[in-house]
Amino acid sequence: MSTCTYCQSSFYGQSLFCCQSCKLLSNWLEGGVAPLNKLNSVSAKWLKYNQLVLESTFNSSIGITEKKFKFYIGGLQCSSCVHLLEDFSNYFPDVIYSKLNYSSRTLETTSKISSSLGTICEAIEQLGYEPTPIKESADYEMARTHENRDDLKRLGVAAAIAGNLMLFSIPVYVGLEGPLAFIFNWISFFIFLPLLFYVAVPFYKKSWGSLLVRRINVDTMIVVALWTGFALSTYNLLQNFGQIYFDSTASFIFLIVATRYWLKRQQDKLIHKNIFSDLFTNEIYEVKSEVRLPAHTLFLSLYQIKKEHLLVIKQNQLIPCDGELISKTAEFDLSFLTGEAFPQVKLRGEKVRAGSRLVSALCDFHCKTEAIDSELSQALAKLEIEHESKSEIQTLSDLISHRLTLVVFSLAAVFFAFTYRYLGIEAFQRCLALITIACPCAVAFGTPLAHSLGLKKALRKGYFIKSSAVFEKLSHIKKIIFDKTGTLTLPQLSLVEIFPPNLCNEYKSVILGLENASLHPVALTLKALWKEMPTASIEKVTEVAGQGVEANYSGHLYQLSKAYSDEAHEIMQVDFFVDQLKVASLSFEEKVKPEAALVISKFNQLYFKTMMLTGDIRHRALAVAKSVGIKFENVYFEQSLISKQMLVKKENPCLFVGDGLNDVAALSEAYVSFAIQGAFESTLQVSDIYAPKKNLSSLLEIIDWSHKIHQTVKTNLAFALFYNLAGGACALLGFINPLVAAVLMPISSALIIAHTTWRLR
């Protein structure tokens, strides 16, 4: 750990400053140049954002004198970043005002009408950050802000009411009597009213919604406890006899509102809206010409692309909509759609689906649909709906609250009906004591508290968990289904053989030169393996799709071409030719992740049924299964996206472990899904748990953590049940009056809070 010379914050590393901002600001204050003394020319990457058509989609200003843009800012580190970006106008005169939101990592700028988006992006980048222009629905943002403020208003009012009621109740508890006690009780009554008619409104709505579908949830019980406490306290107040329970009821409601708000904030951080648009956030497409317009070039964002547009797709760019290839040949990485590790060659006129990534050089593409109508977009939209409906499972807490409510109310009603004749108003008081003490505080806030602490700690460990219900669902799991490619095997290929073994460095350098611009898995593997080797500067490399690459260099013709793929042994061979004479061959294969066998053996020892699901052929699937220890009868190979989904559905409740959006259907169908890589927000949308930068061992850790949380929830519930049972019996037998019950209820709440925070510390 080092301490930053400028901002004094601790950071990992050996440099003097924790980030670029601290360095720039420190230099500036020491007499050096301003952080953005002179803007260099705008790079090609940002230049296209200066086109008016594209820029207008990001400009949220309705005025004609200014432009407003919003950016996601990568690389924020400390307070200096806030200072640097909020002083942006001082270094960059085009910007009039800038405001950073550190929590959401977003920067809002208001700039002169003469400014341009690409130039602002360039300026932010030169300050040392990674800007991404974003376009968010204003209505959505406003609704979220409004909802958050509304929740905070109710929380604030509940806190004020609970606090003030305590002030007026304590004198009465310690023996205040006479007219002053009467006045204090009436003041308590009026203070309680906003709780009843404002703070508790969401409970009424949820309770009513549940009753409409003939179910009782925990909100119903809260509403009944609230109104019973209010009714009896008011009755006693009017009679000027008996106890008043406004304070304990208000404290109870405040605790519930506070824990629910906390949980909601934890979950809100991870929830996003549209998978499809998230996936294409940074993609800007070059439109070559339009059918009805004269040929010209312009750049468009995803949703501006129309049917019949002709696009120029660049290397590594995603295809935005379904259409046809115009170029003679092109090679696409379909791993996103099919999970297949090896790229596929498409010929002119062949259909290419949205989500395919171009591996070879430039290609021309003819759009046959709009982005929103593509098969991928439709499938993802459908999955979002399915995923939302899937989360409505009946959890243990729901079950307990539902049954406990029914039991308590039935018991109170039966008791009242049979004893009213003998006990009179005492029967009502005993019933009230029963309902008060049996209010499910463990369910109402013990469970949300455990879940929010669990989410917070999991996030700190690097797990993005979509919903707290996952903790409970994981405890039901006894089957784990693994995807093969990228999950059990490494994403990169492994070079298993070079022939001749002593291939000279000159040839290696030429091979690197040939593969320099390529994103083919073979190229990526060689570049990673021979990173110390100099790369021959070959200017013009011709890519022969599906075959390989060739180039003339130093008077020789060099070729690198795929020889054959030995599917049975997972081998891919690439031959190297000099002047059409084969001089070397390189063999590659998929490698199993080093930790895979150990993780699966541990799951097998713990009596989990481990399975494998893959689109690959039988030989490859069985070879991987053998090396990691999955039984052959649990291996399903040559599966399509649909059959994978059906199989997961059949095996539910199961945990599906995949490597991102290429397993989208199976991830979405699984009872619990775990993704270990993929685009952040889009992967999180379809998976329950997303753990980037984690290996397979993290599965053991998260399952263990889930069990701990689930155990805490169960202990809370067991304690509350015992407490309620004992308290309820005492209440019905007349040992506890409603006042004592009202005091005992918060004590049980305090015990539950203490237990939860201690177990999950």
Binding site: S79, H83, S103, N148, R149, N164, L167, L180, I187
Partner: protein, 53 residues
């Protein structure tokens, strides 16, 4: 008795005014971002202004 009632009235008025201030702070967006202001307050205005002038 009168003193207590006076103090109770003042306490209630204070409570209501605090809730009022809280609502005003909420509606003016002071609770929308709870993280950035903590960083913003550390900004050294003196040094920066001196430098800019």
């Amino acid at each position: 008795m009168t003193t207590i009632l006076f103090m109770v009235s003042v306490a209630l008025l204070l409570s209501v005014s605090f809730v009022g201030f809280y609502f005003w702070a909420l509606s003016s967006g002071q609770y929308d971002d709870l993280e950035t202001p903590a960083h913003r307050m550390l900004k050294d205005e003196g040094k920066k202004n001196e430098k800019l002038n």
